[in-house]
């Protein structure tokens, strides 16, 4: 299977990109890693008349740090986080190893994944949990949109046709003692989209009190979801098995899955419950081990 014919642009400057977007807007597709876009073009589910390859913008391939924020360029590949474990954001490493397969991870990008807005996207769930924001730019303006306001619907975001994602910002918790995270994914085989994906990340003080909590869910709604209420139940409380169970069942209530060939609505909701409980329990154990060692 082969894509339709298209005009191909490979700009070397961001100005050129925004110029093209302004000129052609709706007719274009942005080619980053291409690991979702090109298969869709081959199946002719997508047939853009203009393809803008942004891989020539080397500055978007960087990870930098500024003012307690991690800036991840739009072209940083998934594989980066497979090999890097940043103890301040362990969820990135935890999640990366579950995305698609190793070959796809070598090419696919975080920015592309967010812009594609697949409800089953692993990064979607993880970055919601991390309370990340998305850097968006066009010829005339740049804006920073919290990821929790970024997804509109399945394959739909707040991006305007002239805009594109230039990077992702993740808040860093410098003062906290311990950051723990898990990404749990139920997939039918390696390379499958999540049947259910659950990202949990916690910041705990030395007494085990939750300073910050993030819970993101994949494949259980029209977009990746943040389990906001479940998160709030954790805030300011010490982790206990009872609390964990309560939070897990709240998260399951917040999920909004549909029945399909990957499982019933009931099953998927139950998996959210199971994974949130397992994820939080695992983080709790991590913390306890750390305390045991330092004691």
């Amino acid at each position: 299977m082969f894509p339709n014919s298209f005009e191909y642009y490979a700009p070397r400057s961001v100005e050129e990109i925004f110029g093209l977007l302004e000129q052609y807007g709706d007719e274009t597709k942005i080619l980053a890693g291409g690991q979702s876009l090109l298969p869709m073009m081959k199946l002719r589910l997508v047939a853009p008349s203009i393809l803008i390859d942004i891989n020539g913008i080397s500055s978007w391939d960087n990870v930098t740090e500024q003012a307690h924020l991690l800036h991840i360029g739009a072209l940083v590949r998934h594989r980066k986080w497979e090999y890097v474990l940043d103890s301040r954001v362990p969820l990135l490493h935890q999640t990366a190893r579950h995305i698609a397969d190793p070959l796809v991870r070598n090419r696919g990008t975080m920015g592309g994944s967010l812009a594609h807005a697949d409800p089953a996207a692993d990064w979607g769930a993880a970055l919601l949990a991390l309370k990340a924001s998305v850097s968006i730019q066009s010829a005339h303006r740049s804006r920073e949109v919290p990821l929790r306001e970024f997804f509109v619907d399945t394959f739909t975001t707040v991006l305007e046709p002239q805009e594109l994602v230039t990077g992702i910002r993740i808040p860093l918790h410098y003062d906290s003692g311990f950051v723990g995270a898990r990404y749990l994914k139920l997939e039918r085989k390696v390379g499958d989209f999540a049947v259910v994906g659950v990202a949990v990340t916690l910041v705990l003080d030395p007494h085990g009190v939750v300073l910050d909590a993030g819970i993101g869910l994949a494949a259980v709604g029209a977009t990746p979801l943040a389990a906001v209420k479940a998160e709030s139940l954790l805030q300011g409380h010490p982790l206990t098995p009872e609390l964990i169970r309560h939070v897990a069942s709240e998260a399951a209530k917040e999920s909004d899955p549909v029945t399909d060939r990957r499982g019933s609505e009931e099953y998927k909701r139950a998996m959210v419950n199971v994974f949130v409980e397992r994820g939080l329990t695992a983080v709790h154990h991590d913390w306890q081990r750390l305390m045991d060692v330092s004691a």
Partner: protein, 784 residues
């Protein structure tokens, strides 16, 4: 450790494969690697509907696409009387649809263009107007009087294809009525697809000047394909040259003739240029032959002390829109009558009814000797149910009912004569490897701790090597196979066979077999298959028939050569032929072993120094008509645990002990077993071609047709017993399919065993986690 190809007396040794050097260098020559001058590319227009009337097919816009050379429709073919082609099952199939389409993705038009891309562009511009009709997706509904008649080309007024039965119904019913214990299960083997990594394809190259068609095709049966093509096209058979190049896996998918092949041939004749057609993965999964789709009901009668008395099986077989099953002519349900398995059933009855539905046509023997997987899955699953009913260990139940070694040749109640086997020994070997009693103790312990752990057994019998000419033919052609051996003056050998390997290692294993017979090394023997202009006629490679049939032909052709060699040796040794003896590598004079000659010495003499009056040369051909089939068997044990939170099954161990008779190359045999187990694992846990009620195929690519990766695939442990076939020239039985035939039941039995304490006896494959979780929930077993 593997051995070098120069080993002498190579039979039974792990010789490194002769075909590998080209593959590991990327020098294999698969179909799509072949490029001919002026070659054009073809792509097919396919129906989005499972059932619809075609109102019009407009091709003008497609012709307007840059690079498009020609478009072919069903009407065009009808004008040539080629709109329909015969299937291997004696039905007919539309080449390009006229009137109605009968399954989603059915072939409607063909577009030929200068590039692959332009051909697809052309396809998107063919405008077909459909009037959608309600599709019939359920074979049981298809049989009801409410169902619309799908096949308007046939005279009959229902969707029934065939009824087939075997055994004694009356005695079976009587035995069931009088059996103290009867268990009954509904066993479904869903539709699956073999999905070799290389899809199907062909290049048709018709030369106007000579009238000769060279047809490069991904074919497991090139000679049969040549004959079928001659019948379909009207081209004289000697003017068709079929070349089956390196094949990237077949598993039954590359046995039938497909509409795309016929279109490519028609286009090449029409345009006078070579036409290449390669399936997309979607085309492969949605249109080329599926396998299984059997809805089976089984009843086993037994005594309270666990001796089986009777088996009855009723089956609805969903064949899709056309009966394109690739079975021997007399066997519409293949060799399903092996369903009594390894057990001594005094009486049995089986029946199968084939049904048309709005699904892709089929089905093929997917790594299986014609419906043997269905049969094996059924009997091994229901024997499990019987064991629970009787509160007997499934191992013990099997032992009590095995056909004993001294009972061979064994006449089964459904008509087969099993050649040999020692089922208890095979089972004992597997039990010893896994330490069965220890496993059961551990299971007990883990159960007490709340774990769900299961052990599943499958002790299956295969039936392979179709087959003896009194019973087996395809389109009337007897299912023999053949080998031609030529020894050149320097003692080097070329051997050509009617089979066609797709990764099984024939270039090595048949070289070993022939080298053993001729006292040479495998390095001295070149095996060629797949070229119908040079190879002798044979029926091809599927149904584990290569070793039983072509292997038999190879051994007997070699012995024919050796017979002549013996005469030449007598001449060279200056003794009478009666005084010549063969020790496996040399001819010598009896009682005077210091005087000897090798096969190479004899070969040179065959061209330079012959006995007076003898015909020069040293070669022979043998067409081998096997006297019987062969009956490999195996004992497989799976150990699984179930995640009570998610329903995911983890295969902790899997032991496979196979008995395929004499082993030619243990390394290759083990490789075949690993591969077959992996497919069996996929079938048990993830592979399924499902449809929605609108007739949409729900697994049209590898994102939804799930084949196992290295991460899911268990670590395989293997063992072996050797019970030679008494009638095969070297005692070999064939092995490539046993692991696929025997393993699904072992996996499912293990999962059922984990849940058996809660009354579960049956689960429908594939065992997706959500299905298991539903069962857990039903029994209050779920946890976080």
């Amino acid at each position: 450790m593997s051995m070098d190809v120069t080993e002498t007396q190579p039979l039974g040794k792990a010789i490194k494969r002769k075909e590998d050097p080209r593959f590991i260098r990327g020098q294999g020559r698969y179909l799509d690697d072949i490029v001919l001058p002026h070659m054009l590319y073809m792509a097919l227009v396919r129906s989005p509907y499972a059932h619809a009337r075609i109102k019009s097919v407009r091709t003008e816009d497609a012709y307007a696409v840059k690079g498009v050379k020609a478009v072919l429709t069903g009407e065009d073919l009808a004008a040539m009387n080629l709109a329909w082609m015969p299937t291997l099952a004696g039905d007919q199939q539309m080449v390009l649809a006229t009137g109605k389409v009968l399954f989603q993705y059915q072939e409607v038009a063909a577009v030929v263009a200068e590039t692959r891309e332009a051909a697809e562009d052309g396809v998107s511009r063919v405008d077909v107007e459909y009037e959608p009709l309600t599709p019939v997706m359920d074979p049981f509904f298809a049989l009801s009087s409410d169902a619309p008649i799908l096949r308007e080309d046939r005279e009959q007024t229902n969707n029934h294809i065939f009824h087939w039965e075997v055994g004694n119904k009356e005695d079976t019913d009587a035995a069931l009525a009088s059996s103290p214990v009867v268990v009954k299960e509904q066993i479904r083997m869903p539709r699956v697809h073999p999905a070799p990594l290389e899809p199907c394809g062909c290049i048709a190259d018709y030369q106007n000047s000579t009238g000769k068609l060279t047809w490069y095709v991904t074919s497991q049966a090139p000679h049969a394909h040549r004959t079928v093509l001659a019948m379909v096209s009207g081209l004289p058979e000697h003017m068709i040259h079929v070349v089956s190049p390196d094949i990237g896996g077949g598993f039954g998918n590359k046995v039938p003739v497909y509409p795309g092949y016929v279109c490519a041939v028609v286009m090449s004749i029409k345009l006078g240029q070579p036409i290449k057609w390669i399936e997309t993965r979607t085309e492969n999964l949605t249109t080329t032959n599926f396998a299984r789709d059997y809805h089976m009901t089984a009843e086993i009668g037994a005594t309270e002390d666990g001796h089986v008395t009777v088996l009855k099986v009723t089956t609805i077989a969903d064949h899709g829109a056309f009966d394109a099953a690739a079975d021997p002519s007399k066997f519409p349900a293949g060799l399903f009558s092996i369903v009594t398995g390894s057990y001594r059933f005094p009486v049995a009855f089986a029946e199968v009814d084939g049904v048309y539905t709005n699904k892709a046509p089929g089905g093929v023997a997917y790594r299986c000797s014609f419906r043997v997987t269905e049969a094996s899955f059924l009997i091994e699953r229901v024997m499990n149910t019987l064991a629970y009913r009787l509160s007997l260990d499934p191992v013990e139940l099997r032992r009590r009912n095995f056909i004993a070694p001294e009972e061979f040749p064994y006449q089964s109640p459904l008509g087969w004569v099993y050649d040999s086997g020692n089922y208890a020994k095979t089972l004992d070997t597997a039990l010893a490897i896994i330490d069965y009693s220890q496993m059961r103790r551990e299971q007990e312990k883990r159960r007490e701790q709340g774990e769900l752990v299961g052990i599943g057994i499958s002790t299956f019998t295969e039936i392979v090597g179709a087959g003896p000419s009194h019973t087996f033919d395809i389109l009337g052609i007897k299912m023999f196979d053949s080998c031609e051996i030529r020894i050149h003056p320097t003692g080097k050998v070329i051997a050509r066979l009617g089979a066609r390997h797709q990764g099984q290692g024939h270039e090595t294993t048949f070289a070993q077999l022939i080298a053993q017979e001729l006292g040479l090394s495998a390095a001295d023997v070149l095996i060629e298959e797949g070229d119908t202009d040079t190879a002798p006629y044979g029926l091809g490679t599927y149904a584990s028939r290569s070793t039983p049939t072509a292997g038999g032909a190879a051994a007997l052709a070699a012995r024919r050569v050796r017979k002549k060699a013996e005469q030449i040796a007598a001449h060279l040794l200056e003794v009478s032929q009666d005084d010549v003896q063969w020790d496996g590598t040399r001819f010598s004079a009896k009682g005077l072993s210091s005087r000897s000659v090798t096969m190479a010495d004899v070969a040179l003499a065959a061209y330079t120094n012959l006995p007076e009056g003898m015909e020069p040369g040293l070669e022979a051909t043998y067409y081998y008509d096997p006297p019987n089939l062969t009956f490999p068997n195996g004992a497989y044990i799976a150990v699984v645990s179930i995640d009570r939170g998610t329903g995911q099954v983890h295969v902790e161990r899997f032991v496979a002990v196979d008995d395929c008779g004499t082993v030619i190359n243990p390394m290759v045999v083990e490789g075949q077993i690993h591969g077959g187990l992996t497919e069996g694992f996929g079938i048990a846990f993830m592979q399924e071609i499902a449809f929605d009620s609108d007739g949409n195929n729900l697994a049209p690519n590898f994102m939804d047709y799930l084949v196992p990766t290295a991460v899911e695939t268990p670590h395989w442990e293997t063992g072996r017993t050797v019970t030679p076939s008494p009638h095969h020239p070297i005692g070999a039985k064939g092995v490539g399919e046993s692991p696929n035939v025997g393993s699904p039941a072992a996996f499912v039995n293990a999962v059922v065993d984990a849940l058996a304490p809660y009354g579960v006896t049956n689960l429908e494959i594939p065992l997706f986690p959500w299905k298991i979780w539903e069962v857990l929930k039903q029994h209050g077993l779920t946890v976080s």
